[in-house]
């Protein structure tokens, strides 16, 4: 149970960072932390104690295998996460060129 709780705490750490940080890059990092905690959760739910990699061995039919599906899901999600992070960083760089600062308090043209 403890790994799951740690995983949830990691998610909350990320959320806390997104809410409280004032620096654009730190917000991006916090989002990445949230993302990683989700991936970790997926890896955990596929894990079976004493399981081995799911390559079926005909000689030994009673082996325990870990669930391979969450691993495939995590791989897909990591690629998506890469795209989101790249997109976010690109926008942050553009914002920095426009405003000359990473401080979110000085970047508020839009309101209401």
């Amino acid at each position: 149970m403890i790994p799951y709780i740690m995983c949830f705490i990691l998610f909350l750490v990320g959320l806390y960072g997104v809410i409280t940080r004032r620096n654009l890059v730190k917000i991006a990092v916090s989002l990445s932390i949230m993302e990683i905690s989700t991936f970790l959760f997926f890896a955990l739910i596929g894990y079976i104690d004493g399981g081995v990699a799911p390559i079926v061995d005909p000689a030994d039919p009673v082996k325990t295998y870990v669930d391979p599906l969450p691993q495939a899901l995590v791989l897909t999600a990591i690629v998506i996460g890469l795209a989101t992070t790249a997109m976010l960083m690109a926008v942050i760089i553009r914002l920095y060129r426009k405003y000359g600062t990473f401080d979110i308090r000085e970047i508020k043209n839009l309101r209401g």
Binding site: F11, L15, V18, L24, I27, L31, M34, E35, T38, F41, F42, I45, D67, L69, P70, L73, T76, A77, I80, A83, T84, M87, L88, V91, I92, R94, L95, K98, Y99, I107, K108, N109, L110, G112
Partner: protein
């Protein structure tokens, strides 16, 4: 196995790829090719709309047949409900793409614009026709990442800031959804929506079930901008180029937000009264608060964006009323009426809100400003824009011969029949405030005294823009025929049936 189904995803993806390659060498290729692709998709979506009826088409990707009735491949599903949504996506997409032919000339990098547009369409089509929970997530990300890029397309201060805010909130929403999917997979060991339904029906832990529902609702609620989660919508929708605003507001929040919420809560989770009341409350809040936030706006696109929140509130509210009645197990015909009203309003909203954003784009194109106070007297110089925007404004505020009136009427009648008198009253009041707000828009933009310095050389926008706006306004008028019971029966009842009978969806797909 219907071989036409995967084309909804393949064609725009291939299109995005080809535009980046060929568009580099042939100058005009991108715009006409995009319109052509979307016209083709709109045609096949109409084919499905008229042929689906009571059937459910299933396409198993890669030909993976189920083993012992357990689905192992990825399923693409087309039934009465998503046929309607797919139709909206591709039709509004086609008209926006055609409109962009002249609108987008003022931006550089047209190739990127059309490629991202195609990707966004691919993602939305994928979300809507996917029968697999993780696939929904993947296509959702495809569509929202292209939406992030398109919101920032102007690369000025406002656009970038709006895109940043959208990305942070959208990112949080994605992780909540992913967490929800993880929790569902943990207990059920499957990702197929129909199979999950079967797994849940054999008994589950109540707390766990509620937790998953809340995660999924808040994740997709953030994507749909239902009220406590609405902060990103006005910025993002008003900063994007106008055809993209029409897509975001008219289609994206429905396809990746409202549609998925309705689909999952009706066909995957068992409907419980607590969740139904929560959804109705959120809908009511969106409806009321959205319209009050819209009143004070002077920027046309911001005003329209806040009205999107409010109108989506109507949809969520009426679907929520339907859920409450179904969960109580009483008066199913009233529940069916409420859901009909919701889906009817969803279709209508795509027509009139898409049109209004295109009008806003036309005004911005000619006078170069979005501020209502700087406009005036445009009715003479831009007759087509004025006429179409009048039709759209009257539709959204619910004036009789136009479509918005009939869907709101059905929603209000359903609320009264279900004995939610307060909600019916609120719906009427919100409709009146909407009317006031759009009269303001009409008066300041089109009928006010002309400002002398503005009179110079304002003329009507080019043909592709006028064409798209006129077609949209024809839809605004035509859709009101859905109020006649026979036509409504033919068009909407397949969608209502699939939602009213939650087990039919899963049993048909499992049995395939």
């Amino acid at each position: 196995m219907n071989p036409l189904l995967p084309f909804f995803i393949i064609t725009p993806l291939v299109g995005a790829f080809l535009i980046m390659i060929i568009g580099r060498f042939i100058k005009e290729f991108n715009k006409y090719f995009t319109s052509l692709i979307l016209l083709f998709l709109a045609c096949i979506s109409f084919y499905f709309l008229f042929n689906t009826g009571e059937n459910i088409f299933v396409y198993k990707v890669g030909g993976w047949e189920p083993i012992n009735k357990i689905p192992i491949g990825i399923y693409i599903v087309m039934d009465g409900f998503n046929a309607i949504v797919v139709c909206i996506i591709n039709l509004v997409g086609f008209l926006s793409a055609f409109y962009s032919i002249s609108y987008i000339k003022r931006y550089t990098a047209e190739n990127y614009f059309y490629a991202l547009f195609c990707l966004m369409i691919a993602g939305m089509n994928g979300v809507v026709i996917s029968g697999d929970l993780f696939n929904i997530f993947v296509f959702l990300e495809i569509s929202v990442i292209s939406a992030y890029a398109l919101v920032a397309f102007g690369v000025e201060k406002n656009e970038l800031e709006a895109s940043f805010r959208y990305q942070v909130l959208g990112g949080i929403a994605s992780f909540l959804i992913l967490f929800g999917i993880g929790f569902i997979y943990w207990k059920t060991k499957t990702l197929n929506i129909a199979d999950i339904k079967e797994a849940f029906s054999t008994g589950y832990d109540r707390t766990y079930y509620l937790f998953v529902q809340i995660l999924i609702l808040s994740g997709f609620g953030l994507k749909a901008a239902i009220i406590p989660f609405h902060a990103w919508l006005p910025d993002a929708h008003s900063s994007a180029p106008s055809p993209i605003s029409a897509m975001l507001s008219g289609v994206l929040i429905k396809a990746v937000g409202i549609y998925v919420i309705i689909r999952l809560f009706f066909n995957m989770f068992a409907i419980s009264e607590g969740m139904a009341i929560l959804i109705t409350t959120l809908g009511t809040l969106s409806m009321v608060i959205g319209v009050f936030l819209a009143i004070g706006q002077w920027d046309i696109k911001r005003l329209l964006a806040y009205h999107s929140i409010s109108q989506m509130g109507y949809v969520v509210l009426s679907v929520g009323i339907g859920m409450i009645l179904i969960s109580r197990g009483v008066r199913n015909e009233v529940a069916a009426l409420a859901i009909t009203g919701g889906i009817f309003h969803l279709i209508n909203h795509a027509a009139f809100k898409g049109l209004l954003f295109l009008n806003a784009g036309a005004i911005e194109y000619t006078i170069g400003s979005r501020n209502l106070q700087e406009m005036g007297g445009l009715a003479k110089q831009m007759p087509a824009t004025a006429a179409t925007s009048f039709i759209a404004s009257m539709s959204i505020s619910g004036i009789p011969p136009f479509n918005g009136f009939f869907s709101k009427l059905i929603i209000i009648i359903a609320a009264i029949m279900a004995k939610f008198y307060l909600l019916a009253l609120l719906a009427v009041i919100v409709s009146i405030i909407t009317l006031a707000s759009f009269l303001k828009f009409q008066r300041y933009a089109f009928f006010n005294k002309t400002d002398n310095k503005n009179e110079r050389k304002i003329k009507e926008v080019p043909f592709p823009m006028v064409f798209s706006m006129v077609i949209m306004s024809i839809f605004c008028i035509l859709l009101s025929i859905l109020v006649f019971p026979q036509i409504r029966e033919a068009m909407l009842s397949p969608a209502i049936d699939i939602l009213m009978d939650p087990s039919r969806y899963s049993s048909t797909i499992i049995g395939h």
